[in-house]
């Protein structure tokens, strides 16, 4: 068991290292650098910059050094949680993360709760009432939910909410609460804005969880212990909820580590569409402006989260379900 965890953790570390190289290289790929953009901006503002000045800026920020030196400096600073400076937002990357990451986590958390709240009961229903009208309806809805891209769903909901409820969507707060202190009305305002991103982000996850739950439960239902429970006179629902559902939930619990990073990655485009104060919009801008510290940090952060999440899932699965044996362990 420990050996297995150790090997997985090592592999995870190697993967994160590979991701850090890939994200650094990819972000360096565009021709030119941030200084070029900056110079262009200054020139457009009527403040021409000489080549010498640009070069001075470049060496000041270390942008004239070879790529591997830049990478080394970057990764060393990352390891000590020094994320560098965002050129285009003109604040430390850390500050942007502090401002936006809590919303990101909150959004993901609410979405996971939403997903489970709907997926588990529907999954149980679909399995117990297999091939009923309800089962077919949920299957079809589930397929549709999986297939429709998030950002299209966001657009459609945005239109519906505007056309039928007269509510402009976008952001997580109304204008009057945007910069206000935290208070109950502000929390209520947040909740009113939160439902669209939650539904948009949660639909695909709900759809696939329904399928998983349904299939897991269908595997359990024909087993003798269920029959025994029922023949002993336990009411149907109790017999189902008490034993097979608990077994069927196991693989579901383990997906939580995987769900969080997937949700954060998936929320990027939705956040841009809905104008949420999360990492998505800044990442898009940072990529377009070649703001490499900001973009690199976000890409690396998401990659690391995915790796750690998968690791947690794998380990949880073994811890929760003692029937799973690791090949080569012990």
């Amino acid at each position: 068991m420990l050996g297995f965890m150790g090997r997985r953790a090592l592999l995870g570390a190697v993967t994160i290292f590979a991701i850090s190289i890939i994200s650094f290289v990819v972000i360096q790929l565009p021709e030119g650098d941030w200084i070029d953009n900056y110079v262009l901006q200054l020139e457009m503002a009527g403040d021409p910059v000489s080549i010498d000045e640009a070069e001075a800026l470049r060496s000041q920020y270390g942008l004239d050094r070879p790529l591997y030196v830049q990478y080394w400096k970057w990764i060393r600073r990352m390891a000590s949680l020094e994320f560098g400076y965002s050129y285009y937002l003109e604040v430390p990357v850390k500050q942007i993360l502090f401002e936006r990451f809590p919303y990101q986590i909150m959004l993901a958390g609410v979405t996971i709760i939403f997903t489970w709240l709907f997926a588990i009961p529907i999954g149980i229903y679909s399995a117990v009432r297999k091939r009923s009208l309800g089962d077919y309806t949920f299957t079809f809805l589930g397929f549709t939910g999986l297939a429709v891209p998030d950002f299209l769903l966001a657009l459609i909901l945005m239109y519906i909410s505007f056309a039928y409820f007269g509510q402009t969507v976008g952001g997580l707060f109304s204008r009057e609460y945007l910069t206000a202190e935290w208070s109950w009305p502000r929390v209520w305002d947040l909740i009113k804005h939160l439902w669209i991103p939650t539904v948009v982000l949660g639909t695909a996850g709900t759809a696939s969880l329904i399928r998983i739950m349904r299939n897991n439960l269908l595997d359990e239902l024909p087993k003798p212990y269920v029959l025994t429970a029922m023949s002993k006179g336990l009411p149907l629902w109790w017999a189902i909820m008490k034993y097979p559902v608990r077994v069927a939930l196991n693989p579901l619990v383990s997906t939580i580590g995987y769900l969080l990073p997937a949700l954060i990655g998936g929320s990027i485009i939705v956040s841009v569409v809905l104008g949420l104060p999360t990492l998505g919009p800044v990442m898009l801008r940072a990529l377009l402006e070649q703001d490499m510290y900001l973009a690199g940090t976000i890409v690396l952060l998401l990659g690391a989260l995915t790796v750690v999440g998968t690791l947690i899932s794998d380990i949880l699965l073994i811890v929760i379900d003692p029937r799973i044996r690791v090949v080569g362990a012990d």
């Binding site: 592999l11 190697v14 993967t15 590979a18 991701i19 890939i22 994200s23 990819v26 972000i27 790929l29 565009p30 021709e31 397929f143 549709t144 999986l146 297939a147 429709v148 891209p149 950002f151 299209l152 657009l155 459609i156 945005m158 239109y159 505007f162 056309a163 402009t168 969507v169 976008g170 990073p261 997937a262 954060i264 990655g265 998936g266 990027i268 485009i269 841009v272 569409v273 990442m283 898009l284 990529l287 377009l288 973009a295 976000i298 890409v299 998401l302 990659g303 995915t306 790796v307 998968t310």
Partner: protein, 382 residues
């Protein structure tokens, strides 16, 4: 499989119907299986329709998709009226633009008396049919003798911010978006077959390193990687180069899934009797791989491919939508959706969102068809 069938026939007491099943070829069995999945069959027909649109996009376009005029911008979708005083005389009504005095929003007044005839197989802008034959006929269009200033198009789906005909643009966009899915999948397919094949057939160090590579690629979150790669495409590239760059980008991750499928199949077939037999009689290795092993799981590959296409279409649409993908003058579903990016436009000009409809239908159809194909690929399972 056929020999098994023949054996059973000798045991007698077999109905005609099951006899037909026993002697049916593998592909026939798969076809029967596929036909049973109604939704998959309907989806396949819809997809054939989509690709017909892609092939004959210009013929179906009612106006030059690039033609723009300030006079008809943000026009609502206009219906064609087929009958005029009880006679079959297709026409569209004339329009008069005005500014709403309160909101300053441009709006149009329908002139019921001004009737502009609509013709079938009408002459219009020049194009090359299937990219080969010069042609200028279009299925539907305004008669060529009506000057462009009076009415440049039918505007079945309205027009956009600079007055381009949304329907005609949608036709061209369908071609580009659907072909990106196909080319992207072809690229992933090539990489997946080669690397998955090496991994599964040779095993050992090859397998280990390729599997690690796949694992690393799969653990990078797809959307940020796509965005970062797409942002790296130089701004001054031509539309065609950007198109290919985006296709490569969307297949960067797609091939790993195909490689996984191919590897799994190779692993299970490697020790099979027919492969051993081929090896023993001295068939060259490449021939064993391509002639014997690959052909035996072609159906699984087809299913995996059709399930991989929608992901690529979504990726392209999302990237273009964000302004990282294809750029004007190229038109794709994502490029068209870009106009519906903010709440205000969506509220004021909801028809610009119509592009979402073909996107969703195409993606659903690919998923359902792929699902049916996956079931059919293994016709012996119950």
């Amino acid at each position: 499989m056929a020999s098994e069938g023949a054996m059973s026939v000798h045991q007698g007491a077999v109905s005609d119907e099951s006899q037909e099943i026993f002697v049916a070829s593998q592909w026939r069995l798969m076809w029967w299986r596929f036909k049973r999945h109604r939704l998959a069959v309907v989806s396949a027909i819809i997809l054939i329709g989509f690709y017909m649109v892609a092939a004959f996009a210009e013929f179906l376009a009612t106006a030059d998709p690039a033609y723009h005029t300030e006079k008809f911008h943000y026009l609502r979708p206009q219906p064609i009226r087929f009958f005029d005083e009880g006679r079959f005389r297709p026409h569209v009504n004339g329009l008069k633009g005005f500014r709403d005095p309160d909101t300053f929003k441009k709006d149009y007044e329908v002139l019921p008396d001004e009737k502009i005839p609509v013709h079938f197989f009408v002459e219009g802008f020049e194009y090359r049919l299937l990219g080969l034959f010069p042609a200028n006929r279009h299925l539907l269009g305004i008669a060529p003798d009506v000057p462009l200033e009076v009415r440049p198009s039918i505007y079945l789906l309205g027009s956009d911010d600079i007055g381009r005909d949304a329907w005609s643009r949608l036709m061209i966009a369908t071609r580009i978006s659907l072909s990106i899915g196909l080319i992207g999948v072809a690229m992933s397919f090539f990489l997946g077959i080669v690397l998955g094949g090496i991994s599964g057939y040779y095993g050992g160090v090859w397998d280990l390193s390729i599997q690690r590579l796949i694992e690393i690629l799969r653990s990078i979150p797809a959307i940020p990687l796509w965005m970062a790669l797409a942002a790296a495409v130089p701004r001054d590239w031509s539309a065609l180069r950007v198109y290919f760059a985006i296709t490569v980008i969307v297949s960067v991750i797609g091939w790993t899934e195909l490689a996984r499928v191919v590897r799994g199949r190779f692993l299970s077939l490697r020790e099979d009797d027919f492969v051993t037999a081929a090896r023993l009689i001295g068939v060259p290795e490449m021939r064993i791989i391509f002639r014997h092993m690959l052909t035996s799981f072609t159906s699984h590959i087809i299913a995996a491919i059709s399930l991989a296409i929608p992901g690529m279409i979504i990726a392209e649409t999302a990237l273009s939508f964000l302004g990282l993908g294809l750029r004007a003058p190229a038109v794709s579903w994502g490029v068209m959706l870009q106009q519906a990016q903010n709440a205000q436009t969506v509220a004021l000009y909801p028809w610009l969102m119509f592009v979402a409809v073909p996107v969703i239908i195409a993606i659903l159809a690919f998923n359902f068809m792929g699902d049916g194909l996956r079931d059919a690929a293994d016709p012996y399972s119950s």
